[in-house]
Point group: C2
Chain length 295, copies 2
């Protein structure tokens, strides 16, 4: 047999090589890790075989990943964005939520992906205050309010935290933009005894995902549109209830059908309506949120 | 339908979501890139579905990739190593070589992976000189020599470059080790009119892959042995012939059956034999190399 034929036997056509890599895991491997790594190795190898991936192509992928890592820090997660543009975060979000709510719960607020711009150190703010500290001239201010309730009982949840963040009208989150003050357009609010929260924010506007790293480069290579539809991020937490991470989308904005990171769900679209008698805001949005008990 | 059932329809059970991500590629996408990305998206999504990958698990993977990128520079490629330990580089090497030699060529020297320690700027050295500039006290010096020939005609190839690199007996390549001088244990030799090359090097010794990054951490989590069997790296190039990247393995060393990066092929094992009458070396190795013409 020629060495070429042998090489084909071993890998391109056969699965023995892959099984050998899987079987190298030792007895002390955590069972869940073994399950995940078995699936990962199998699919990564099958992918390489199916498309006949070459060394040069693989090295180009490695360089993309290394570059994403080099750009990532506590204010930016380019590795995450790289997977977002191929739809993985949205998929694992659905898988995770489906597993956590396996019994099914009608009326539960739908989830959406966290994305790379959440910050752990966002300050608490008082209900009724604003998150917009340098409202841009092209910005429309929205008074957003609502109630957080238990999805099963309908009872209001007191002291739920509502963590909100959004980009400014220039398409940048504060950590991307030296001209915005720290923690502009983000805040953590806490519901009152009736489960109510409220704050002033901006009507969100579409923005392109960052173009200066490998995720943007990959989008360009795939001839994809780079914008995210206008959205506001929310993370809602309450002791004894499952955490909710979601995004709400302006029903009138572009890109709802071709979000560059595939996060849109129909049930998450909202309508901003005119607000009367408030000098601070021309629009308002009532958005009520339901949480499921931890089992 | 509950939002949970809808989520399952959309992603966990269905393929429509994945097709939507694939179909987002625009008409200007390079056809080969479209083929590669279609396979990648399909397999990454199927992997996530099959193992029910959760957001936390996915984020742990993202952090591993970001950390690999942060550690990588022109002297170290941790992203590459991360894929090496799940056997991907060895697989794409075989795929690439199988495609390049599709007609089959008996007697062609087998390939092996490049690995993360090759350097582009290694200096040319004269035949018969050494690559070991600070021979460690536990090192055995080998006189290595051989002929580079055309695999079809058997004719010697003049001026072929033989790029060699190896770790020292402490398990470190010079770029990992502040105590080795630059380009220690590496050199580029050129064959003479008869196709001959020769140099002094060390008998290679097994070493563990670096433990200070995510690849080492992953090996630990998988309860895997971390050593590479003793080997010498070679990259052989000649105008008009296909480049060969390979590794030769000491047939008497440990870990031939459980190389941490799955690079060993039986036909690449070699035997170091005693050398007489040479004060510089106690062992020798004749290693002849064949190259295939570019088509």
């Amino acid at each position: 047999m020629s060495s070429n034929a042998r090489a084909q036997d071993r890998t391109v056509l056969g699965q023995e090589y892959t099984q050998n890599v899987i079987d190298a895991m030792g007895p002390q491997t955590n069972p869940r890790l073994r399950e995940v790594m078995t699936g990962l190795i199998k699919h990564v190898h099958d992918f390489a075989r199916e498309v006949r991936l070459t060394t040069d192509e693989w090295l180009a992928g490695v360089e993309m990943i290394n570059e994403a890592g080099r750009m990532s820090n506590d204010r930016r997660n380019e590795g995450q964005l790289l997977f977002d543009v191929i739809g993985l975060e949205s998929l694992v979000d659905d898988i995770t939520v489906a597993a956590a709510t396996a019994n099914g719960t009608n009326g539960l607020t739908a989830s959406a992906i966290l994305g790379p711009f959440w910050r752990q150190d966002t300050p608490h703010r008082e209900n009724g205050t604003t998150i917009s500290f340098e409202t841009p001239s092209d910005g429309q201010v929205v008074y957003m309010y609502g109630k957080v309730t238990d999805v099963a009982t309908g009872k209001p949840l007191q002291n739920a935290s509502v963590d909100v963040w959004q980009a400014s009208t220039n398409g940048l989150y504060e950590q991307q933009d030296p001209n915005q003050r720290e923690h502009n357009l983000r805040g953590v609010f806490h519901t009152d005894a009736d489960g109510n929260y409220s704050f002033y924010c901006l009507r969100p506007t579409p923005y392109p995902v960052p173009q200066d790293g490998p995720a943007g480069k990959l989008l360009g290579m795939m001839d994809r549109q780079v914008f995210r539809p206008a959205h506001i991020h929310l993370m809602v937490q309450h002791d004894g209830h499952k955490s909710l991470t979601t995004q709400i989308f302006d029903k009138d904005c572009k890109y709802l059908d071709n979000d560059s990171v595939f996060a849109v769900k129909k049930e998450l679209s909202v309508e901003f309506v005119p607000r009367k008698g408030d000098a601070q805001a021309s629009l308002e949005l009532e958005y009520n949120i339901t949480l499921a008990k931890t089992s």
